[in-house]
Amino acid sequence: MSRNEFDPQILSRFAANRTSRRRFIGGGAAAAAALAMGGSFLAACSSDNKSATGGTSTHEGPASGTLRISNWPLYMADGFVADFQKATGITVDYKEDFNDPEQWFAKVKEPLSRKQDIGADLAVMPTFLMVRLHNLGWLNDISDASLPNKKNLRPDLLEASADPGRKFSAPYMSGLVGVAYNRSATGRDITKIEDLWDPAFKGRVSLFSDVQDGLGMIMLSQGNSIDKPTTETVNKAIDLVREQKDKGQIRRFTGNDYASDLAAGNIAVAQAYSGDVVQLQADNPDLKFVVPESGATTFVDNMVIPYTTQNQKAAEAWINYVYDRANYARLVAFVHGVPVLSDMTDELNKVDPEAAKNPWINPSKDVLDKSKGWGPLTDEQSKQYGDAYAAVTGG
């Protein structure tokens, strides 16, 4: 077994952990819920200044009242919210209503632009979206004084170029974006991006529709940097994707919903999130996750406090609670992401020794060296790249 594959012993434990399939079932389930529930789902996201929750944030006294959290589906450990409520006396209204960043933004941008409540005091989102909201002036700063546990944050994330010093954002979970394949469908190992274009896999490849997760590893394979992307390098990757799409090589552009097709054997090779594949392997040992030779990309999901929050102090108390290593170990053991706190091995060993040994939860230096994060983009760049890629993925 290569270093880039998962330990089968860990898999059996994850098999029991079906509810943590966040990116896998989560995407589809939330989309289904959104469609099925229609009005009520939208109502949850609509502006409602009267929502009978928590008091307006004050700077006096301890945090209290109600805290409304919007997070991705299945991105939470069992009992975590209840324990937070017990420890702090804060009531949590926890919603798994964050599924697709762009669609979430499409829903909240009108109320937020009018400074109307969006039904969330704290939300978890990828870096690019948090930067966008910050640039629009829609995020509150997070007070360092309320966050003694901030010292536990990984130094590289604390000084990330997207938010140096982490003034308005608090990393929640990180992970790798690489390639997953169904060994019984491919009949061979996949090691590099070029393998995705093998005519043998025609119509059985899926790519992410998200610009950063989808194009990042392709740009790396073309010898380009994603730390300082340019229109030229992004377009070069888009051109390649368009060419492969027109050939019929690419079956679907996906969000988090690639995994069911991969497990079912409809997709042979997919761009994938590391944590998902761990969980899928429990049911299907033929599935493998690799960091392509040219490198993988990383993602970071962050907790942010919208400027319409009705309970800033409770939101900060939540972040501080998450940043306690013992508490955070429970989250990691459930979600299987790469921790955003440093030195997690001891605490993980207490909660889940197998997870502590997992190469994807504690990635090796080799893997980390090959994994790159996107550099900061201006709004214009983000929009331009997003539209250009959407023209390929949407039509």
Partner: protein, 291 residues
């Protein structure tokens, strides 16, 4: 006395208007107002900041030209799919509705109940179930492959046929019910009369049953074709990157790219084409007796 009679008469004259008032108000608020808003957006151009663009209404017909030139493939594909699905619905639903109306006897209600039963399950779940049935490694593909009936791609899922099949399956109930209603209304004595006049079974069908069931065919076709044209779920779950319909493009333009004028123009184009198609169709088949 006379005064009371007049006011009664006036009231009864007003009654129909009062009765349609709620429906009119509903249409006004939820159709007319959004329609004008959509039409206005489709003729606007966006400017200002990247993520909070301001829409300026300036009769920008360029949005329509762009919609046509960029997405003509998807527009054509959409109407081909919807048309094929509608024809398939007629072919599948007619014999079924005929049997229910004329041959089912005391099982009529049972069969009608069975027809409606699957629709108690949500649309989305039924569509996703087809992914499992049509999976590349599934038994359907295996069975068809072994008798050499697979499409050229060597699979069923993520092909045009899967999308058309999904559309047919999801909307067929809207064909069966109107067809059943119009067939059920046909007086059986008309068929007896045609037999008395030495008509063959086939001639009885083409000269009596078919013309009298046309209102059902017409209503069913509209009820299937219109929603199938705007559908994006089937193409999303059962299709591939080669089978996107105009609904998928509109969804992406509204929610991901957030180019509202382009999305609105595409929606207007979709509506206009459906409207023209429906007008031509109803002219050809006649509309005096819808259902």
């Amino acid at each position: 006395m006379a005064g009371a009679a007049t006011s009664n008469r006036q009231r009864s004259k007003l009654a129909p208007y009062l009765m349609i008032l709620p429906a009119l108000a509903y249409l006004g608020i939820f159709f007319v107002v959004p329609f004008f808003s959509l039409a206005r957006t489709s003729l606007s151009s966006s400017g200002g900041s990247v993520y909070l663009p301001t829409l300026e209404f300036n009769w920008d017909f360029g949005n329509y030209l762009e919609a046509f030139s960029h997405y003509q493939d998807q527009i054509i594909r959409t109407f081909v799919y919807a048309l094929v699905a509608t024809v398939l619905c007629v072919l599948l639903a007619f014999p079924l509705a005929y049997v229910i109306a004329f041959k089912a006897g005391r099982y009529k209600n049972l069969i009608l109940g069975l027809v409606i039963l699957p629709f108690f399950v949500t649309f989305l779940i039924r569509t996703i179930a087809w992914k499992t049935i049509l999976a590349d490694d599934g038994w359907v593909v295996g069975a068809l492959g072994s008798v050499g009936l697979l499409p050229s791609e060597g699979r069923l899922l993520s092909t045009s046929w899967a999308v058309i099949g999904g559309l047919t399956y999801n909307w067929i109930i809207f064909m069966i019910l109107p067809l059943y209603v119009s067939l059920e209304k046909i007086d059986p004595r008309l068929m007896e009369a045609s037999k008395d006049l030495y008509s063959t079974n086939r001639r009885s069908f083409t000269k009596v049953i078919l013309p009298l069931s046309m209102p059902g065919v017409l209503a069913g076709s509209l009820l299937v074709f219109i929603p199938a044209s705007g559908d994006f779920i089937n193409a999303d779950y059962l299709g591939s990157t080669q089978t996107t319909m105009i609904g998928n493009v509109i969804q992406k333009q509204f929610l991901v790219v957030k180019d509202y004028p382009a999305a609105a123009a595409l929606s207007m184009v979709l509506m206009l084409i459906i409207l023209v198609g429906v007008l031509l169709y109803t002219r050809a088949l006649g509309t005096e007796d819808l259902v």
